[in-house]
């Protein structure tokens, strides 16, 4: 059977372990894929009724959304989503880009090491906390600022500002990565020609990173579209198209808010029910389109920088010469400024005055343009850097205001009784112990379900799956679900688990819903962490006679461990802070004792915060206390992930 001296004849009885493991992994990964496909089909299936009853065209173009009178015109909702998102990006993109430029190109090393984590902390704040802050601080502030335009404060403007703040970390982080990945040889070549740092940044680095920055913008859009809780709390939720269209002071309602508001009351199987699913479907399609564009752009970036250094020379010579803006571009730009200023100013005053002011603005812009040519490059750089610094400070100030407000007003509420007691007087007094316990249970339950599935699928996708069409489809499905708004998961969870399977509002329904929500994230981050392990480690192991399974378990996974762990902790942090998925599947507003069975509902911190803020006047102290506790839990998880990542980056230098 085997020769002693050579020993490399296969024994026919020895079964190939690699093939078995491949099969097992494929099986487990398939479960993940099946879940994902199931969800997509479920949403689609349930929306067919609406398509048949209402008609797609009528649905998309109808002006009135009034389910009680059987009117399902979704145009105001779609418009609301688009307007709020557009406003948010308009706010977040320039500020985010400026901050990213500051962090990447201007800030000294030490400052960078502080600023980057700060912007990541932003990302960790749960949306319900943002919504809370928006409701309690932002809306009254706007009401003070524009007393004539804003009666109540809740508005498109409030929504866009809040959403913009929430999209900032995504935009800053992705843009900064894009800027950093511009090869330093580009910068060096430019500076060697005598350009200042600012000129290099403006003319070389930013254009070179434009693909990544576009991806950042698009990802920010994706984040904004899917936001539920925050917009629900500050936009006023009136399903009407603003009059005129650019009236930022009008109240609007987004698709996500519609879902969150109407799901609890809807009758299963009714047209209304189906219409909600159709809304969810439209939302998912929007996300799909956005992801698609982002992916194309990312691919283009990779291709561009794969080219040799010689191409950088042609790139630089093209860009560094003083580009004359063509006269056509100039007039287009001026027209745009004029129109925008007309739109905004006319909200405040009459038509004639707006025109006058807009014209003055145009003249002002032209004068600045003329003057700027006279300023020396060195001074221009000083002005530019100062501006960037101011923007960055502004961003930091916002963060500190938000966190500071919650900490300052929340600390007084914290006491031993608060942490360990039960709520009383509808939550105005007493403690939040059951909510804390409920959140912890949800986290653990999610972990138990999502972890094995997600990691196995990630390992399978990166190590064992080929590059077939099927794999590409699977990855698209995972990415789609990755970007899907959490409220859609809530909808799915309610319909499939609570109602269809009859689990009722229960811990198990909430855990499954949350697990399904984080499953794509864990799968993806595991896959990426494993792919990041350099190929030559695998080769070294295989070249010594290790099998693929041994290589995967003994070399690859340990090397990717910190990446995988970070992904898990981040997902759990997100799960802890999410409201929409658990709102319809697991939570109740009050419990007097800790439930013993997983089929019982639970209280949870995010939902408790929302409930107090939206429904219980006079509970401000406890609102802040709840917000603070939630913030502490979620932010410590994010910080833990950061520490692990930092620690491992120090040790492992590929």
């Amino acid at each position: 059977m085997s020769s002693d001296q050579n020993g490399f004849i296969k024994r026919s009885k020895k079964i190939d372990k690699d093939s078995i493991m491949r099969f097992v992994l494929m099986g487990i990964a398939s479960v993940t894929v099946l879940i994902i496909i199931f969800i997509i089909l479920f949403v689609f299936g349930n929306s067919i009724g609406a398509i048949k009853d209402i008609g797609i065209v009528e649905f998309l173009t109808g002006n009135t959304w009034k389910p009680s009178s059987d009117e399902y015109g979704a145009l105001p909702l779609i418009t609301g989503t688009v307007l709020v998102t557009a406003g948010a990006i308009l706010f977040a993109l320039p500020i985010g880009l400026a901050s990213a430029i500051f962090i990447s190109e201007v800030a000294p090393e030490k400052a960078r090491n502080i600023l980057k984590p700060i912007s990541e902390v932003f990302a960790g704040i749960p949306s319900v906390v943002y919504g809370f802050f928006g409701l309690i601080v932002l809306v009254p502030f706007l009401r003070e600022l524009f007393p004539d335009q804003l009666l109540y404060g809740s508005s498109w403007l409030a929504g866009s500002i809040l959403l913009g703040i929430m999209a900032l970390p995504t935009i800053i982080s992705v843009s900064e990565d894009a800027l950093r990945s511009v090869p330093s040889s580009f910068r060096e070549a430019s500076v060697a020609m005598g350009a200042t740092n600012w000129e290099t940044t403006r003319k070389i680095v930013v254009p070179a990173a434009i693909s990544g920055i576009s991806a950042a913008a698009i990802l920010g859009v994706g984040r904004a579209i899917g936001e539920t809780m925050a917009v629900m709390m500050v936009t006023g939720n009136s399903p009407l198209i603003p009059e005129p269209l650019w009236n930022i002071f009008d109240m609007v309602r987004t698709i996500t808010a519609t879902l969150a508001l109407e799901i609890p009351e809807v009758v299963t199987g009714s047209t209304h029910y189906s219409a909600l699913f159709l809304l969810a479907l439209i939302l998912m399609i929007m996300v799909l389109i956005i992801n698609y564009f982002a992916k194309i752009i990312v691919k283009r970036t990779k291709r561009k920088f794969g080219e040799s250094v010689s191409s950088s020379d042609s790139f630089i010579s093209k860009h560094i010469s003083t580009k004359r803006i063509s006269s056509m571009e100039r007039s287009a730009g001026l027209t745009l400024i004029f129109v925008l200023s007309m739109m905004i100013i006319s909200l405040f005053t009459n038509l004639i005055l707006s025109t006058v002011i807009s014209v003055i603005l145009i003249v002002f812009v032209l004068i600045i343009n003329r003057l700027s040519k006279k300023i020396r490059s060195v001074d221009k750089q000083k002005i530019a850097h100062t501006t960037l610094f101011i923007v960055m400070t502004f961003v930091c100030v916002i963060l500190f205001i938000i966190i500071g407000d919650i900490v300052i007003k929340g600390l007084p509420a914290l006491s031993f009784d608060f942490i360990t007691g039960y709520p009383s007087n509808e939550g105005r007094s007493g403690g939040i112990y059951p909510a804390i316990v409920g959140t912890v249970k949800l986290i653990i339950g999610t972990l138990i379900i999502a972890l094995p599935l997600g990691i196995t699928s990630g390992v399978y996708l990166s190590e064992y799956a080929g590059n077939t069409r099927l794999t590409k489809i699977i990855r698209s499905a995972i990415d789609t679900l990755n970007g899907t708004p959490s409220v859609v998961f809530g909808l799915f969870g309610m319909a499939a688990l609570v109602i269809f399977l009859g689990l009722g509002h229960s811990l198990i329904a909430g855990c499954v819903t949350l697990a399904v929500m984080v499953l794509p994230v864990i799968t993806r981050t595991t896959e990426e962490a494993i792919s990041a392990v350099p190929k030559d480690l695998r080769e070294a192991s295989l070249a010594m006679g290790a099998s693929k399974w041994e290589t995967t378990t003994k070399i690859v996974i340990p090397a990717a461990f910190s990446g995988i762990l970070t992904g898990i902790i981040l997902s759990l942090g997100r799960a802890a802070g999410e409201t929409a998925p658990i709102m319809f599947t697991a939570t109740v507003v009050f419990q007097s004792s800790i439930p013993s069975s997983i089929f019982d509902p639970v209280m949870a911190l995010p939902y408790h915060l929302y409930y107090l803020a939206a429904e219980v006047p006079g509970s401000t102290t406890n609102q802040y206390g709840t917000a603070l506790v939630l913030l502490i839990i979620v932010l410590s998880m994010f910080m833990l992930a950061s520490i692990i990542r930092y620690h491992s980056n120090k040790n492992i230098k590929w």
């Binding site: 020769s3 001296q5 050579n6 020993g7 490399f8 004849i9 296969k10 024994r11 080929g466 350099p534 030559d536 480690l537 080769e539 070294a540 192991s541 295989l542 070249a543 010594m544 006679g545 290790a546 099998s547 041994e550 003994k554 070399i555 340990p558 090397a559 040790n651 492992i652 230098k653």
Partner: protein, 252 residues
């Protein structure tokens, strides 16, 4: 011939549609250093990786012909490729130690192949590091991370790691291209030491390296073995015009 530990017969290899090796035949002699030289893309690395079947990892790779090792074609379906790779070790261009301690790097291979006794593993660690001329430098800090070593030391660690499973043949794929001249010199001396006990095949883009250390040299060009012979003849009076032009620097 009894001196030939490997015989390559009419080896043809395709990556998908593209033929990367055409009709390659030559012997590898026991306890000698055989070098493969040639311009970039000539197929020398591909040829080397065929010897320990690392090309199996590439999906669209097709092979025709034979590589005879111990009178057995290694591409025969009966062959257990993991055992094959135990006998034929490989050193790569960029040093690739595992992100573990020095000791764990070297015990990885023996453990995979079933050795569990602690004492025996310690002996293997020492023996391998001695043979790789690294023991003097790291023998007192085996628990340190392998990544803390310099490039040259890391490469010698990779050699020690390959030696830990007692191979017969050591394949080296441009082992010094990522190293400075001093580290390169140490690895070259090491190779000359190793050929006493092992058989070495080295791919190098630096033909002076081949002339310095090898006993036999093969010149490859666009997937073909143009000429193979003892090193002195190849560098003194090559029979093929193409070889002469390459060696005198007229191209490549």
């Amino acid at each position: 011939m009894k001196d030939n530990v490997i015989e390559i017969n009419n080896l043809n290899l395709w990556y998908g549609e593209k033929q990367a090796l055409t009709d390659v035949s030559f012997p590898i002699r026991k306890n000698k250093i055989s070098a493969l030289i040639g311009p970039s893309g000539c197929g020398k690395s591909t040829l080397l990786r065929s010897i320990n079947r690392m090309n199996d990892l590439i999906a669209k790779c097709k092979i025709e012909g034979q590589i005879m090792y111990h009178e057995q074609n290694i591409y025969d379906p009966n062959v257990d490729v993991n055992s094959l790779r135990k006998k034929i070790g490989m050193i790569f261009q960029k040093p690739n130690p595992f992100p573990m301690s020095i000791r764990d790097n070297i015990t990885y291979g023996p453990k995979i192949h079933g050795i569990t006794d602690e004492k025996e593993l310690e002996k293997i660690v020492e023996r391998s590091l001695v043979q790789a001329a690294l023991w003097d430098e790291v023998g007192d800090r085996l628990n340190q991370s392998a990544l803390a070593l310099s490039g040259g030391q890391q490469q010698r660690l990779c050699i020690a790691r390959a030696l830990s499973v007692s191979p017969e043949i050591i394949l080296m794929d441009e082992p010094t291209s990522a190293l400075d001249p001093l580290a390169t010199s140490k690895i070259e001396d090491l190779a000359c030491e190793l050929e006493k006990e092992y058989t070495v095949v080295i791919v190098t883009h630096n033909m002076q390296q081949a002339s310095r250390i090898s006993d036999y040299t093969g010149f490859m060009y666009i997937g073909k073995m143009i000429e193979f012979g003892d090193t002195e003849s190849i560098f003194n009076r090559p029979t093929e015009n193409l070889t002469e032009r390459y060696i005198t620097g007229r191209f490549g």
